[in-house]
Structure formats: structure tokens, C-alpha cells
Amino acid sequence: MSTKASRSAARLMLAPAVILLLGWMLVPLTLTLIFSFQRFLPMRGGFQGWVGFENYVRFVTSSAFWPSVQATVVIVGGVLLITVTLGILLAILLDQPMWGQGVVRILVIAPFFVMPTVSGLVWKNMFMDPNNGLLSHLWRFFGADPIIWLSDASMLSIILIVSWQWLPFATLILLTAIQSLDSEQLEAAEMDGAPILSRFWHIILPHLSRAITIVILIQTIFLLAIFAEIFVTTQGSFGTRTLTYLIFQRVLESQNVGLGSAGGIYAVILANIFALFLMRIVGKNLDR
């Protein structure tokens, strides 16, 4: 039961947040949309006229476009595969009774709190450096030639670094979901002699399906936008130039704002496809 006065007060309290976010979304997005139809080179003559959809066509026909889509798909897909698979296994493991569960949980979660520039540089130098990195020491210890990670296995390296950062997120969410699983149901299945694998397929996995979907959607949205990890390691070379990084280079490095803005609009559309799915799930949850 709310009175008329409290309703208008409520609207007043909501207004600042709505106005701020509306401005934050509409103003820059409108500008990006406007720039995307212009030939606009701030360092080389500035605004040079309207060009219609030329930037959109040029962005997707440039030689850098498809490799960047490929890099994006491989990185996002690879990280999702690793984090979700290992996340499920880790969550099941951490749900078992053990000594020092709290400490193990803290150890597993820690990478999520490391800032992206630190994890990028620590992995690049202290682990993946071909001369002094710990992995190269390890390779030499076993008599193998060290891998030059960030150039010869650049994609794998980036996937490893980013997976290390996101595994805690997947694990934590899946663990939370597993803990809500009715343990009596599992017990009954165990009593009935259902083998571990079938218990996993028929009880645990279906129970986790919603949480897995959420992990995939949220991670996809964040992973499409990864930037710092590439910025401090390969700078987009050796095939690691993702769509986000390509747009960044077009806009700030080569200062071709029109072209970059067209790319930006593509990125917005792409992110929105995943966001729509996510919002549908979250929205359903609100109704409950």
C-alpha cells in the first residue's frame, strides 16, 4: 500500500540514476553513430564530409576485420570452454567435505581480484618469458626447448591468462548453485547405486544448467571487451587483435574516428545480442 505522496517521492529518488544512465548511454552512443557516417580524421584534416555507410562497408571489408573476428571467437570460446569445464569440476570438488575448505576457496578465488594489468604482466614476464620465465625454466628442466609463448603460441597464452582470471568467477557462481542442490536427492541416487557419472549427468548438470547459462552469458559480455590483458602483452600482434582491440587501434592509434565508430556500432550490436539473452533470464528471475 503506497500513498500518492510516497509514489511521487519514489519517482524523485529514482530520477537521478535514470537521468545519469540515460545521458551516459545516449550522448556518447549518438555521437558514435554520427561519427560513423562521417569521414573524420582528427589528426589529418578533421571532418571531411558525410560518407553514408562507407565506413561500415570499409570496416568489414578491411583485411584486419575477419582475423579480428576469428581472434575474438577463439579467445572468448577458448576461455569459456576452459572456465566452464574446470569451473564445474572445481565447484563439485569444493562442495565435498574436506579440511580447510575456507582456505582452499580463498586460494581459488584470489585471481579474480588481481587487476588485469598485473596479471597480464606477471604472466608475460615471470612465467611466459622465453629466457627467464618460470615456464621456460620448467621446460629446460625436462630438457625441452622453451616455448616463446606470446609470439609462437600467442592465442593460447592470452586464453591461459584470461582463463586464470575468470576461472574463479565461474567456480564461485557454480559452487553457489551446487550448494543449493538438495543433498537428499543425491544421497537417494547414491543409495540406489547410481554411478558417479550418471549422478553427474542426471542430477548435478541439469541443476546447474541455469547457473551455467548465466556464467556463459555474463562472461561472454565481459570477454568480448577484454582490453588490458592484450594491451600489456602482445598489443594485438601475433594474431591476437580482437574486435575490441581493432576498434581501439582505429579510434585512438590511427585516429580514424569514422571507421572506428562504425566498428564500435558493430561491437554494440554484437554485445546486445548476448545481453538480450541474459536480460531475459534475469527478467524471469525478477518475476519470481
Partner: protein, 276 residues
Amino acid sequence: MARTVTTQRKIVTTLVAWGIGLLIFFPILWTILTSFKTEAQAIADPPVWFFFDWTLENYRVVQERSNYSRFLWNSIIIAGGSTLLGMIVAIPAAWSMAFVPSAQTKNILLWMLSTKMLPAVGVLYPIYLIFIQLGLLDTRVGLTIVLMLINLPIMVWMLYTYFKEIPGEILEAARMDGAGLREEILFVLTPMAIPGIASTILLNIILAWNEAFWTLNLTAARAAPLTAFIASYSSPEGLFYAKLSAASTMAIAPILILGWFSQKQLVRGLTFGAVK
């Protein structure tokens, strides 16, 4: 009823879990250890583990050479400021949607969420341009505002899910007793909302501290926080592992500690209440 487990199985689980936990934590542990070594020890092959001459030299050098405390201060101001500003806006918004819901509440919440999904790179140049025009480029004020805006949807959502759990009957009882809106908020709601508010603050400090798109692109020398300071080590000269480690340890230590307190809140905050 808890499942009965054999001691043997528990021992195996414990060993495996600890092994994996330490493996995942290892890069952080190694960074912390290396920060106390000399540069020569830092690259030694075979590696030195615990038995070396522990030194604080790197911490001193990092502070002297790059004026670490200034970057730290920038991080504190930007992360703290954006969280504080955001809370001032987010608390009333979340309060109103949780306790005076209207037909649009759900749509507004989802729309707020959608602004969080906007890829930063898509609006990079406009923001850059606006910052130049307003003289906000490389200022703490500018960065504080941007980080406040990108985290505002998460703050509103998190607070909303917490406020939703406060039973509405309590508010109605207070209203019956003649409490006005102000008393209602101050004496009834606030005490019950404090845990949720604290959690939201914690998570947002962490997110703002680690944000590394806008902080790298909108700062140069003056307003650069720790993320940008660490990035300056990407083109180093000479031996630098121990110093990189010292700088990294200092940059992540505060947030690692805060993070450990916020495990549960992390799930709620980052899944927008979809997983609790």
C-alpha cells in the same frame, strides 16, 4: 542430514583440493615471493623458493623511482570517490524501486542492466572528445565520474536485491505508527539495509580499483591510478622482475584482502541477483 563420508575419502579430497588451490594461487604467491628477492635471484634457474636473503629493497626503489604513493592515492580517490558518488545516487533509486514498485520497475531495472552491457570501446572516442572539451582528460574528477557511471547499474541492482529482502510489513508498521518518510528511512530502513549497503560498497571498490579500460585510456601522468602505473612496466629497461613484483604486490594486496571478505557478494553483484 549430512552425508557420511569415509575419512579416507576426505583425506584424498583434501589433498586434491589443496593441490589445485595452491596451483591456482601460485602466480600470486610467486609474485609476492619474488618481490622480496634481488633481481638476480628473481630470474635464477633453478628458481629459488623460500631460502634467499629477503630484502625490502625493491619496495624502496619502486617508491623512490616512480613515486608509487601518488598512483596509490589516485586509485584510492578514484575507487572510493566513484563508489561514494554512486551510492548517493543508487541508494534512493534502489530504495524506491524495492519499496514503491510501479509497473515500469522491471523494465527500468533491465534497462539499467543493459547500459552495463554497452561495450566501452563503442563510446571511447565520444567520451575522449567530451573529456577534452570539458578539460577532464587525465583528471581524477573525470575518471571518478566515468567509473561511477559504469558501476552504477551494478550498485542499483545489488542494493535492489538486498532491499527486496527487507520485509515490507515492517515499513507498514512504522507508517501506522506515524513515521514519515524521513523517519522511515533513518530509523527503520537504514539499520536493516546496512549489511547490503556495506557489501555493495565493498564490491564496487574492488571493481573500480581494477578497472583497466577507462583508466588506461583517459589518464596520462597526473591522474593515473595503479592499473596504469603497472602498465608502464610493459616496456621496461634492464632487469625488473623483482621491482615489477613489488609494484604488483602493492597494487593487489589491498584489494585481495577486501576481496576475501566479499566472496558471497561477488556472486550476487555480478549475476544481478540471478544466482544467490
